[in-house]
Symmetry: D2
């Protein structure tokens, strides 16, 4: 049994990790830390876990996370970079669901995240945890930078086109829509039901932190920098991301075949039949990215539709997938969930 610790279990990625790990056959939950809620039963805060998670939140001090085989950081940005070094030194594997180790260029990271990086030496060591791009490096890693939600949906949607070199990588447009759980379980006016409900808006048009993360991944695939316009929107869903991706074809290829071949062996990417329109609810609660690809009116603009559940393939599910890879388990262990529809 893998001994698991979770730092910061009171947010949405935390409770989602717990939902998945509670049914994972090879996992034993060692500790869920929360300085603020220590002593409270986890299932008191999240009644969905009654009968599934018996332990209480504990302080970091009493938790002795160095005994764990793996520790997940389901924390705000800036925490893992302070605590990972000690755990790594103790031989613990670390999966950070926040952004601390995602950007290789430290200066770039510091610009977008507005803080000084506490462990720049760990960034090079960290492996970006997108299995569809990096599976072998992940297997061998000790420190995983679990991708952001938008970056997962966008990269999986663009990778076949970029890797094949069939689109103009200098002019990509990613119009993305996210459910409100993407903003986390923080008390903020803009995330209130009476603010975000029955409402739709763009945000961060002039710059969102996921822009450099996506750009880095696509540049790696392209072998050169890419030009990307990324516009995120808030939509009244609880869960779900829908990325609508635009690119201009530079070669006349069978895009449907291209996508099907690229993902033929991927257990968690579903290329839908030509003409499909994936719905966010078709992946609700499941670790799947469903993709459809279109060429409207047969023109040279290709439109990729890519949907994920932001809390699963966009966060906790992908983290468990990475854990499975780190420990040599079947990649879908604990992730065999049928989406909840309706």
């Amino acid at each position: 049994m893998i001994k698991v610790g979770i730092v910061g279990g009171t947010g949405y990625t935390g409770v989602e990790l717990l939902r998945l790990l509670a049914r994972h056959a090879d996992v034993k939950l060692h500790a869920v830390t929360s300085r603020k809620e220590s002593g409270m039963k986890v299932a008191e805060m999240f009644p969905s876990l009654r009968g599934r998670v018996g332990i209480a939140f504990s302080t970091p001090e009493e938790s002795d996370l160095s005994q764990c085989d793996v520790v997940f950081f389901a924390t705000p940005n800036g925490i893992a970079m302070q605590q990972a070094r000690e755990l790594l030194a103790a031989g613990v594997k670390v999966i950070d669901l926040a952004a601390d180790f995602r950007i290789k260029d430290v200066a770039e990271w510091e610009k977008w995240y507005g803080m000084t990086h506490a462990s720049p030496e760990l960034i090079a060591k960290a492996v970006y945890g997108l299995p569809e791009a990096n599976r072998e490096q992940i297997r061998a890693a000790q420190l995983i930078a679990n991708p952001g939600c938008y970056p997962t949906a966008v990269q999986l949607g663009y990778l076949p086109l970029i890797e094949a070199g069939v689109v103009d990588a200098g002019h990509l447009i990613a119009d993305c829509k996210s459910g409100v759980s993407g903003a986390g379980r923080k008390a903020e006016v803009s995330s209130l039901f009476a603010e975000a409900g029955d409402n739709f808006k763009a945000y961060g048009v002039n710059g969102h932190r996921h822009l450099p993360e996506i750009g880095q991944g696509l540049a790696l695939a392209a072998g050169k920098p890419v030009g990307l316009t990324f516009v995120p929107h808030l939509t009244p869903l609880i869960r779900g991301i829908h990325a609508t991706l635009y690119a201009t074809l530079t070669k006349d290829v069978d895009v449907q075949a291209l996508f099907e071949q690229r993902y033929v062996n991927e257990p968690f990417v579903d290329v839908m039949p030509a003409g499909s329109h994936p719905e966010t609810r078709s992946v609700r609660g499941a670790n799947v990215c469903r993709i459809a690809v279109h060429r409207p009116q047969g023109g040279n603009t290709v439109v990729v539709l890519s949907v994920i559940d932001n809390l699963v393939k966009g966060a906790a599910g992908q983290a468990v997938q990475n854990m499975n890879l780190l420990f040599g388990l079947p990649e879908d262990q604990g992730l065999d969930i049928v989406p909840l529809l309706p």
Copy 2:
């Protein structure tokens, strides 16, 4: 023109007052105070008011509210009781949308609201602003305690039965459902879209502050104390209250006729035809209470269905209705709004 001040214009009752007053023919907006947001244009916080409300939030000090003809308190509980005395002394009329002056029994108020009342002497002076019960006293008042949202829906639903003495007033059950805007524009986890969306729950079953307010109003109508079980629920609406009221008939009366007669002259209470089921959206944005009354299977249990928009007839609309009465204006001035459906 009536010179109007609003204390606390950053919450939902504040913006709703502004929506209504922006189109009120007899009103001139003097000041909207907010210590925290002073200097910010009101329409910057609430873009729905662009082109309608030109002024900025101001501090109480710079606002000189004593120049107003009427001041609305759209503040949390406990503010009006501290500031009303001075305004009243200056001859200003005051309408408190919070609870400070609603309960006549000071000890009871202090128990439920958990604070010492700062102006107990004003409580007797205050008139409870439910026009359908108190119209003449309101006309003559200087200080109005604007009713709570649940109390408005519940009292309007029970009054015909209680006043006529045809039900057992010792065993009333009010099962009420509220939209999330009723919790205000405060940053609280429980009001987040991802918490309150696609979810339904009761709350405060063992005691909610609106219980003594409803009990006081119904006791006045009954001429004796009443026995009331009040269970509020949170439902994923932005606006709307639906009260489902149960009582046992002690006389065999034509309840439909009873309701129609009671409200025949009321401009803002709509008794629907027998057999109707009022929908909350049928009053969305409007200062109306729609009511239907049933006797399931012809038995002696009477079921009253009463719906309001919690921000209009349950708050800001009723406050404007009270203002109209205070100043001798047509009662529906500025309230001639057709509900938004769908």
Copy 3:
């Protein structure tokens, strides 16, 4: 492996059965019938089942359901009563998720459902599939009348009080709220997003088909007829029922202990700690009924809060639970699902 057939797989109870059975270790799906959609892949209609359910809808004729070990009817009312006889004669077990066999009094059934019963002789043979009331009879049955959604939530909430004889069974009030999926996947104006969204209403106050079903179950527990007022409401949830149940205590009992003892061995009923308010989302997607019991202000009115997912414990999940009992499997086989929150 149990060979399973589903009649009518295009509605919400059908797709929910498929979600559950797709992961059930002892089940082999033989056929999903739909005359209208025959030939279409099930996963084409419900993309959430891609990779999980490989078969296509088939006509009843080509399906040869008599080869099945068990057939579920996920059909509108009035279908199972026409087709069950032949299957039963062939030795097939039948679980009807509709209402055809729920009411023992045929005349009563015909009155509420507005049709002549096609197989009245089967009604006596049918066992009402509420395991918490009827577990042993279910094990021995061949024909199961799977309970309605409201009846499940209401009966589980009232049973401890009624069986113990501690409330006035002549005056029960069940104020119930349902998500919109309860109306099924039928194209009806009243179930449109723009009608049912951001809206709350009661319906069927003068009589709903679940009233006689609940009355029958409670009368059985009470050993005498009960008096019940049942008011259903439509609330903008996709899934979920919240029953708020009122009764007058006739004895001063520890209601918390009463509920805990009644359900101590029940795997799918969760009695929450005193003072709790169960949320519908805490059971989303799972075969659980969570219950809390209150005595507001310590009076003699007892308030029971009972929540289920209408498609799981209120339909397909309970049907699988019944199947497990029919075939001597662990009762929770295939039902080991952690609710989806948020």
Copy 4:
């Protein structure tokens, strides 16, 4: 008083017209036709209109619409083209809220709408009712083709750029999101609450009927054909359209100033300050288009955000605006509505 008839008053554009006309000072409602519902009070179907609209639906025969000064067609596509000729001959002005007269190229219209046009000779006579583009022609018209919802939001967002010739009109991308009321009040599975709620999807990526309408309007402004990729999405709003528009600048202009100047005299277009993100709720219920314009990272991609209420500026409100122009009334008569927020 203008004598008004409405053909097809049972849909969302019909009830929205009634909401607006009920408060319009210069309008007298002559008839609302519905063959199916004739005899039923309009306010029985739409309780929001109780006390506002007294008449009943009537058959076309008994309505004698030729007595009207203006007739609105709030019907499905294909009705107005059959009935308009007779009304026009009788001197009645006609405003078609459907698509019958929007496309000048009959063959193109017939291809996209799948029917033979019944009155091709009227198409040339019809004026496209986008006042911000065609105000003077509208004043002089007898037959108005009221624009579609998407076309309104998209054209208002692109016009300043196209007219000024500062973008590459050959490569425009319009990523649009609509609330569910845009699909109308038709009983269709895909519009059910349990289908469209908590879900997001694209649709019609390979071709949507609004594409040629938008293309025609933009080509007119550009003086040459444009290249447009138009991807509509369904989002769980009741009302609202959010168009996110992308174009490549070919000149380095001050886009903020360009938009402000273009719309400086437009009463119903609000250019927001630089850096803004308009929300759909900021126009809920009002005849306004709010627009913000961005150049992310100062690059040459311009992003325009344009929001409307699809039932108001996208349908019934614009129709009333056109009526005001047709009859020489103040353009905002009856449209002086403050948006409903929250």
